[in-house]
């Protein structure tokens, strides 16, 4: 039975349709596997009962011919996505017992498509981190090497898909939180264009950068789930009123003649030589598939990280002001007055990295510093975006580069050096600042057997090209078929 957990989404769909197995059976198989690999710490809460009930319902729908693309397919959600009557804590002590009174838009869409939500995955607290070590529920282990991190902040989702604990999982990507863990965990991760997927019901970290996306074991799987969760939402004023293309139906279209931009600023010092070699091999592969490689320049890349670490904390300090102990979540018990209530609740409730970013954000928005930091960062952000605009206008149809400068590092290795940790997102952050779609696909393993990811960056709302190129790359390579050394 265990091999049914190694199927692609379309294989699951066929299996369900042909009655090879039922949704209840496959859901049970995945729940068993989650239990078997509990030590990965990928999940923070399971909704087995609801999942099995949903699976049963899905089986009835399949039998009566009312199935949609994800009917009966198990999926996991990052713990910051709200699902009615379920816990959602963003892996923070401050709302560790929060039960959502409403469904996020992505959950509504998944339910409409018949997906079976099995539980919530571990993450860095409030999505702040690149290693999943900032979780109130402890670190997640990388299925490829349990001493290593899976990346972050969507580390639980990445590890769960990598270890085949679920075929699909959703994550969010504010500075690389889907692509970097996808790279470090050897799977595919898509962060769509800002505005493609509704943020309603997603616990906010940095509103102008946050975007929901998906993890899968193949480009096609990611394309299928993105089709389901995308689209304009009346409850999110920043979601775009655009038709959602059928990403999965144009995967095979030729990539002949597509111009792939290779930014020279992304092959800097500090990048792991093995990563560099793999990316170069991947680029050569793309060329052999008919794509044309073009050198491009994104001159403001070096300022992206600093810009991000002003804008994201600024928005975070504001978004996290609501966790005050008054209406829900944790409330300090011994406070004797209002100020103490706030200070104790927040001191006890938030972890160190969250506090660090709240303090940075509060500082950069303060009178006297606003112009020098926040306003300045906004200007630089526009320059970063303009770099991409110019490249796409004049030189290329998409961009290819490394997702992360290194492969997975050891748990504990960088926790005391936030700057080293922040450098992990150096190649992913510019995409968020520019609001672009980005995807990481497996493109190699290093000498230690740890995965390496190729990042593809697209024009706004042109996820289709990323999926197409990624799919062709996958067809020509075996990297995505490599499995982590798990039983």
């Amino acid at each position: 039975m265990s091999d049914i957990t190694f199927k692609s989404v379309s294989e699951i769909r066929q299996g369900l349709a042909s009655k090879e197995f039922s949704s209840v059976e496959i859901t049970k198989a995945y729940l068993d596997r989650i239990e078997q690999h509990k030590d990965l710490n990928a999940f923070v809460s399971l909704s087995a009962e609801d999942a099995l009930a949903d699976a049963k319902l899905a089986d009835r729908k399949i039998a009566s011919g009312e199935a949609y693309s994800l009917t009966g397919v198990p999926i996991a959600l990052k713990d910051l996505m709200l699902s009615k009557n379920q816990k959602a804590s963003a892996c923070s002590n401050i709302i560790s017992n929060f039960i959502s009174p409403y469904d996020s838009t992505v959950v509504v869409k998944l339910k409409e498509a018949g997906a079976v939500i099995v539980g919530k995955t571990n993450m860095d607290e409030f999505a702040m981190g690149s290693s999943n070590e900032n979780s109130a529920f402890g670190p997640v282990k990388n299925p490829w090497n349990k001493e290593c991190v899976p990346g972050g902040s969507s580390g639980g989702s990445a590890a769960a898909v990598s270890a085949r604990l679920v075929p699909l999982a959703l994550g969010t990507d504010t500075g690389g939180s889907i692509r970097q863990p996808a790279s470090l965990s050897g799977i595919v991760g898509i962060r769509p264009t800002y505005g493609r997927v509704s943020r309603f019901g997603i616990i906010a970290y940095a509103s102008s950068l946050d975007q929901v996306g998906a993890f899968g074991n193949s480009v096609k799987d990611c394309a299928e789930v993105l089709e389901v969760i995308s689209g304009h939402c009346l409850k999110d004023s920043t979601s775009m009123q655009l038709e959602v293309p059928e990403f999965s139906s144009s995967l095979d279209s030729a990539i002949q003649g597509l111009r792939v931009g290779v930014p020279k600023e992304y092959f800097i010092e500090g990048i792991d030589p093995e990563v560099k070699v793999s990316i170069q091999a991947a680029l050569t592969k793309l060329e052999s598939l008919g794509a044309e490689l073009v050198e491009i320049s994104l001159p403001h890349t070096e300022y992206a990280l600093a810009t991000y670490y002003i804008i994201a904390p600024a928005e975070a300090s504001s978004n996290l002001a609501r966790y005050d102990g008054v209406r829900y979540g944790k409330r300090a018990e011994k406070a004797s007055d209002l100020l103490e209530l706030y200070m104790q609740t927040r001191s006890e409730g938030f972890g160190d990295e969250v506090k660090r970013r709240i303090m940075i954000g509060t500082y950069v928005l303060s009178t006297g510093y606003y112009d020098a930091y926040y306003l300045h960062a906004q200007k630089v952000r526009r320059l970063v975006k303009r770099d991409f605009d110019l490249a796409f206008d004049e030189k290329c149809d998409l961009i290819a580069c490394p997702t992360a400068p290194t492969t997975a590092f050891k748990i504990g290795e960088k926790v005391n050096d936030p700057l080293q940790m922040y450098l992990n997102d150096i190649f992913t952050i510019p995409v968020n600042l520019a609001g672009l779609p980005g995807m990481s696909v497996p493109c190699g393993l290093d000498a230690k057997g740890l995965p390496i990811g190729l990042q593809l960056i697209g024009k706004p709302f042109d996820e289709s090209t990323l999926f197409r190129v990624g799919h062709h790359f996958e067809q020509a390579t075996e990297w995505h078929k490599q499995l982590p050394p798990l039983s």
């Binding site: 959502s100 005050d324 209406r327 303060s366």
Partner: protein
């Protein structure tokens, strides 16, 4: 040395939209504590604001009414502070880019008209309410009001006296009520006012150090609070001290103000553009559509009443106190075409009765149509003035139409000359003594015959016709 005050007012007007500014949650009055809340109002994790279009329209409407420029590109900003009645830890407001700027309104005060500048008008959300229980030492939070739309209207420091400030406030209230975008009830908090005030020697052009007065929650208190504060500041200066820039609370019990927080300790609100709300672009077409839907404004209505209808300034002022009065006047006038009579009946009879019976205008049983009809009945000699008052009382008490009352009570005025002549001749015949005296030259007795005729007819005869026929009959007797 003489001092003058410099005053600017910040008015918060709660808008009468059906739903809140950033969520469809209802704004209806009189619900149980925290009943008008939803995840967005409660600041639940993951919630996002979606702007209520009506709020934008109302803001544009007030902007046009106050001669403001409407900003084509708007942004909302977050204003941060921690307080239990503020669910998100920030208020969504407008900061650097308010929707309306650079306007002014005409304020009438003591027979003069002054133009008072409007610095800005911006949209924002209201906070909830904290309820403190001193006995148990606990505080409770009611978030029904959280997210209710507000317009903040900031005046230029153009006001010079407390009475002028009060006149400005009343004018602003009148505009808001004419537009029907705010009910302007200060006691209930649907209109709130903070005042910035400083003093300086007469003739000085620079401003003195100002204080901000809060908690002025009735029209009555605006003048009181300002008078106290101005006197206090002058006393401070005369004693050789300096006024400290600070926020002061008005205490209506004592009629005094006391310091709340000084500038140095003032909160840093850390404003920044709200990333959840994209830039709001206001199309010209929307501004024009709002302009087309604008009701008449108090000043326009006043001018029309004086210039078109020929009413006195006094009557025009009384009628333009409320848009309802103006609408009522116009509707009644449409029926009877006599502006002066309409104004008189409205302001003396109707208002008099309402006052006496302590009934609100909104609850008045006499429709404008019926009042117009009543006046028309007088105009067309169906009713005498005296009879009309009787009919009016019945209308006021029962809400019946004047036609119905006339019909039911047979109150029709008699204008038939033959019938009147009969009564007149019998009155003359019944009073030979008076007739003799009249014929002997006592002209004053003419009135006696009129009175007797009216009495005999129960006041139902048209006095004009009675006069004519009486004259005619008495002439005949002169032989």
């Amino acid at each position: 040395m003489d001092y003058e005050a410099v005053i600017g007012l910040e008015v918060h007007a709660q808008l009468t939209t059906c739903s809140k500014i950033f969520t469809p949650s209802s704004t209806e009055f009189g619900h149980g504590v925290n009943e008008l809340t939803d995840p967005v109002t409660l600041g639940m994790p993951g919630c996002l604001p979606v702007l209520n279009k009506k709020v934008v329209e109302y803001a544009i409407m007030l902007g046009l009414a106050t001669d403001c420029q409407i900003r084509k590109r708007n942004r909302f900003a977050r204003k941060h502070y921690f307080y239990p009645d503020l669910p998100k830890g920030y208020q969504i407001s407008q900061y650097e880019e308010p929707i309306c700027e650079h306007g002014n309104i005409k304020v009438r005060f003591d027979d003069t008209v002054r133009s008072i500048g409007i610095t800005r008008i911006h949209m924002e959300e209201d906070a909830g309410k904290n309820i403190h229980d001193p006995r148990s030492g606990t505080s409770l939070v009611d978030l029904n009001r959280a997210g209710v739309p507000l317009l903040e209207i900031v005046s230029e420091p153009d006001l010079r006296t407390p009475a002028e400030a009060s006149a400005y406030l009343k004018t602003m209230r009148k505009i808001l009520r004419f537009l029907e975008i705010c009910d302007g009830n200060m006691e209930e908090g649907s209109m709130r006012c903070d005042a910035n005030v400083s003093v300086r020697p007469v003739g000085e052009t620079k401003f003195g150090t100002r204080t901000e007065l809060k908690n002025i929650n009735s029209f009555k208190f605006v003048e009181k609070a300002l008078e106290y504060e101005i006197a206090r500041q002058i006393a401070v200066i005369k004693a050789g001290d300096v006024v400290i820039q600070e926020t002061r609370l008005f205490d209506s019990e004592t009629g005094t103000t006391h310091a709340m927080r000084s500038k140095e300790e003032s909160a840093d609100y850390r404003y920044f553009p709200d990333p959840d709300l994209p830039e709001l672009k206001i199309q010209k077409s929307l501004i024009e559509a709002v302009r087309d839907s604008m009701p008449v404004l108090p000043e326009e209505a006043r001018t029309k009443l004086i210039e078109v209808y020929g009413l006195s300034e006094y009557d025009a002022d009384v009628i333009t106190a409320e848009r309802l009065f103006v609408d009522y006047f116009e509707e009644a006038f449409q029926i009877c075409s006599n502006a002066k009579a309409t104004a008189n009946w409205l302001t003396s009879e109707l208002f008099g009765y309402l006052n006496k019976e302590a009934i609100r205008f909104e609850d008045c049983k006499v429709s404008a149509r019926d009042l117009g009809t009543l006046i028309k009945l007088i105009e067309t000699d169906v009713l005498s003035g005296k009879m009309a008052k009787v009919v009016f009382e019945e209308m006021f008490n029962t809400g019946k139409s004047p036609e119905q009352i006339v019909e039911e009570q047979g109150l029709k005025q008699i204008t038939d000359p033959e019938e009147i002549r009969k009564t007149v001749t019998s009155v003359i015949d019944e009073n030979p003594t008076q007739l003799e005296q009249y014929l002997g030259g006592n002209d004053k007795l003419f009135g006696f015959f009129v009175g007797q005729t009216m009495k005999k007819s129960g006041g139902s005869m048209n006095p004009k016709v009675v006069n004519e026929i009486l004259k005619d009959e008495l002439e005949k007797r002169k032989g």
